[in-house]
């Protein structure tokens, strides 16, 4: 391209003449240098775009009073950390995540059939959180519950930074 015409040079076969080899070296050095420089800049741009993913930890969150859960029934609570299903089974309080394991919609409780139904693709779960119908791949996530005096506490995953 730089017009070094060597009459004896044919298309691909003869050994590079000293002048074009010098050019080739210069070209390669230039290409490598520029690509490394611009590449590092591009890498930083990509780093900037990738979000900071904070580590998850568990926090204890109040989910209301025991009396707010209908006896032998279900209450779905919308906590800032996520939606929680609270079930009163005999003397025990159980908790599940109300997030459908299929694609993340929030399930609704149907008291007549005693099941949870996901409005997005029709997935259904029983009171144990097990899938009874539809596309969800696994049961509802179990959430640890603690009852202290008359208040229900659930262990929720959060990405909030721990304040020192």
């Amino acid at each position: 391209m730089n017009g070094t015409s060597n009459v004896e040079q044919s298309a691909n076969q003869s050994p590079p003449s000293p002048r074009s080899r010098r050019e080739f070296l210069a070209d390669s050095f230039m290409a490598v240098g520029v690509m490394l420089g611009l590449g590092s800049l591009a890498f930083r741009f990509a780093q900037y775009l990738y979000p900071v993913i904070l580590p998850e930890r568990l926090v204890e969150v109040s989910a209301g009073k025991v009396t707010e859960i209908p006896a032998g029934g279900v209450r779905i609570v919308n906590l800032p950390e996520g939606p929680v299903i609270l079930e009163s089974v005999g003397t025990e309080i159980r908790a599940f995540s109300a997030i459908c394991t299929h694609l993340g919609c929030i399930v609704q409780y149907h008291d007549d059939k005693k099941e949870f139904v996901c409005p997005c693709h029709g997935g259904r779960y029983d009171l144990d959180g097990k899938v009874t119908y539809g596309p969800p791949p696994r049961s509802l996530d179990v959430i640890d519950v603690k009852v202290k005096s008359d208040e229900v506490f659930v262990m929720m995953k959060t990405q909030k930074e721990e304040k020192v």
Binding site: A26, F29, S40
Partner: protein, 159 residues
């Protein structure tokens, strides 16, 4: 300078750029950990506040509460067609009108759509955002403490 020499210069400059960018990347870790947003002074004439209210005031400014609710919660920002007097409400009386739990709930859950004064009019442009779990419990306590302190004292009824 010959063409080839210029090409080598370009290559070297590329490497210098690489070095500079690497240095910048290394500094990034340090900068993000040690530097904090500067303490914001909102109004020069605001009376000095006590040390235990400082964290709450800092949060009030950093989270942009002041942008809508005004300095020291005085309000005055237009919010067309909103039921709160077509303005973003002032916060100086929250100590009397909200229990701590209610106030925290309000901040965490926000008000997704401000209620319209005239139903045929436009949706008010400003609404209270939901801060969800952006604030730790300790931060929330500081903020509520500060908000409760906005209540006018004695001969300054705040009207």
């Amino acid at each position: 300078m010959t063409i080839n020499a210029q090409k080598y210069l370009v290559g070297i400059m590329g490497l210098i750029l690489l070095g500079s960018v690497i240095a910048a990347g290394y500094l990034d870790e340090q900068r993000r950990k040690t530097e904090n947003p500067p303490a914001v002074v909102v109004v020069a004439t605001a009376p000095p506040i006590s040390a235990d209210l400082q964290p709450g005031l800092k949060l009030y400014e950093q989270l942009s509460c002041v942008a809508c609710h005004g300095a020291a919660g005085k309000g005055g920002v237009h919010n067309i067609n909103s039921q709160t007097g077509q303005e973003v409400p002032s916060l100086i009386h929250v100590a009397d009108s909200y229990t701590k739990a209610d106030l925290i709930a309000k901040i965490r859950l926000g008000v997704p759509v401000s209620l319209k004064l005239n139903p045929d009019g436009p949706v008010p442009p400003l609404h209270m955002p939901a801060f969800k779990d952006l604030l730790s419990d300790a931060d929330m306590d500081s903020l509520v403490k500060y908000l409760y302190s906005l209540k006018p004292q004695g001969d300054n009824p705040g009207f």
